[in-house]
């Protein structure tokens, strides 16, 4: 029997959060963490609350803290995270808890919104589409794949302390995605908005973000590129 401990908190009823223990029969299979949650919700306690949708690592809705490391429950196999037959599941750290494993992502989305994550081009629109060379298109690899699961930003200490001022790894990765896009003409305005001491420069290169990204992306590298662009712009 797998020993599972889940963070429980219902702000309307509970004075404070607590951990609830469950025993789950995995049938000897290497289940995903999400399967374990479903088993508990289906068979033991229907009030256990979490987000999930695609159950295949695409939608980014089931980011949780699994045995101390952020990840997507649906694509994290027990063999990768369970130690000593124990599985501890908590909500993503640093964001307000709405209930159990569900966190309020408003702060995270507000930072995403700040980087204006859409293509801006002030030249006349062409008849069909804006072309991009294969080489320029390649520059977006490792950037466009982000599913906004927030695993990275909520593992970043700088984001914990200043989630209202520091854009965080997820937002900055998207910021660079548009800075690097050959079809975007708002580069100067984008950079001008990033020059304050918080937005970009709160990153101290701790690399927690790289360590947890379920898509294998590297926000630290993207942040380095932004810093390079800011330097070039100032020189």
């Amino acid at each position: 029997m797998l020993q599972v401990s889940i963070y429980r908190y219902n702000p309307e009823q509970d004075a404070e959060p607590s951990m609830q223990d469950f025993q789950v029969d995995t049938g000897g299979k290497d289940l995903m963490v999400l399967d374990v949650l479903e088993l508990i919700k289906g068979q033991q306690d229907t009030t256990v609350t979490y987000r999930r949708s695609c159950r295949e690592g695409v939608c980014g809705s089931d980011g949780v803290n699994i045995n101390g490391k952020n990840g997507l429950a649906c694509i994290t196999p027990l063999s990768e995270c369970v130690k000593g037959n124990k599985l501890v599941i908590r909500p993503l750290p640093g964001l307000p808890v709405i209930r159990d494993l569900v966190v309020d992502m408003s702060l995270f989305y507000a930072q995403y919104e700040k980087v204006q994550p859409y293509l801006q081009n002030d030249t006349p629109a062409p008849a069909i589409e804006r072309y991009q060379s294969p080489e320029d298109r390649e520059k977006l690899d490792g950037l466009y794949e982000c599913i906004l699961c927030a695993c990275c930003s909520t593992s970043c200490p700088s984001f914990w302390w200043n989630p209202d001022r520091f854009i965080g790894p997820a937002g900055l990765l998207q910021s660079y995605r548009f800075l690097a896009d050959s079809r975007d003409t708002a580069t100067e305005e984008r950079l001008a908005r990033l020059d304050d001491p918080f937005s970009v420069f709160r990153c101290h290169g701790i690399q927690n973000c790289v360590n947890v990204c379920p898509k294998g992306l590297n926000p630290t590298r993207a942040i380095g590129h932004i810093r390079g662009m800011l330097l070039k712009r100032a020189a």
Binding site: W161, P197, F198, F201, L231, A234
Partner: protein, 119 residues
């Protein structure tokens, strides 16, 4: 709220650059001092070294670098941990108080260093 008003240059890029340049200067200075000390020095040699203009300039540069480096570093630490978000209203009071204390001590240290070096 935490704002950038009290940061050294108010620009993240300049603060970041200053932090790096001063780090190199400090490394060079303390590396040099360490190297000299490791060789063993007498009082006469030591005061002769500091009597030369280039050494005075070097030492003054190091003192100023230390002040700038410390300010940027402490500003970062204070605005991370001593905030309204983490500790309510008293975070602001504590942060501003410690910032004042830090700047005051840094100014005193720099003046003191100038006095010692240029005596």
């Amino acid at each position: 709220m935490v704002t950038a008003v009290t940061s050294l240059s108010r620009s993240g890029l300049s603060d970041w650059l200053v932090q790096r340049v001063t780090a190199v200067i400090l490394l060079a200075f303390f590396g040099f001092i360490g190297f000299k000390l490791a060789g063993g020095v007498s009082y006469a040699e030591w005061s002769a070294l500091f009597a030369q203009s280039w050494m005075k300039v070097f030492a003054l540069l190091a003192a100023l670098s230390l002040a700038a480096h410390a300010w940027i570093g402490m500003w970062g630490v204070f605005t991370d941990y001593l905030t309204e978000r983490l500790m309510g209203g008293k975070g602001n009071v504590l942060r501003i108080g410690l910032q004042l204390l830090t700047s005051l001590s840094l100014v005193i240290y720099v003046i003191w260093a100038v006095q010692i070096i240029w005596r």
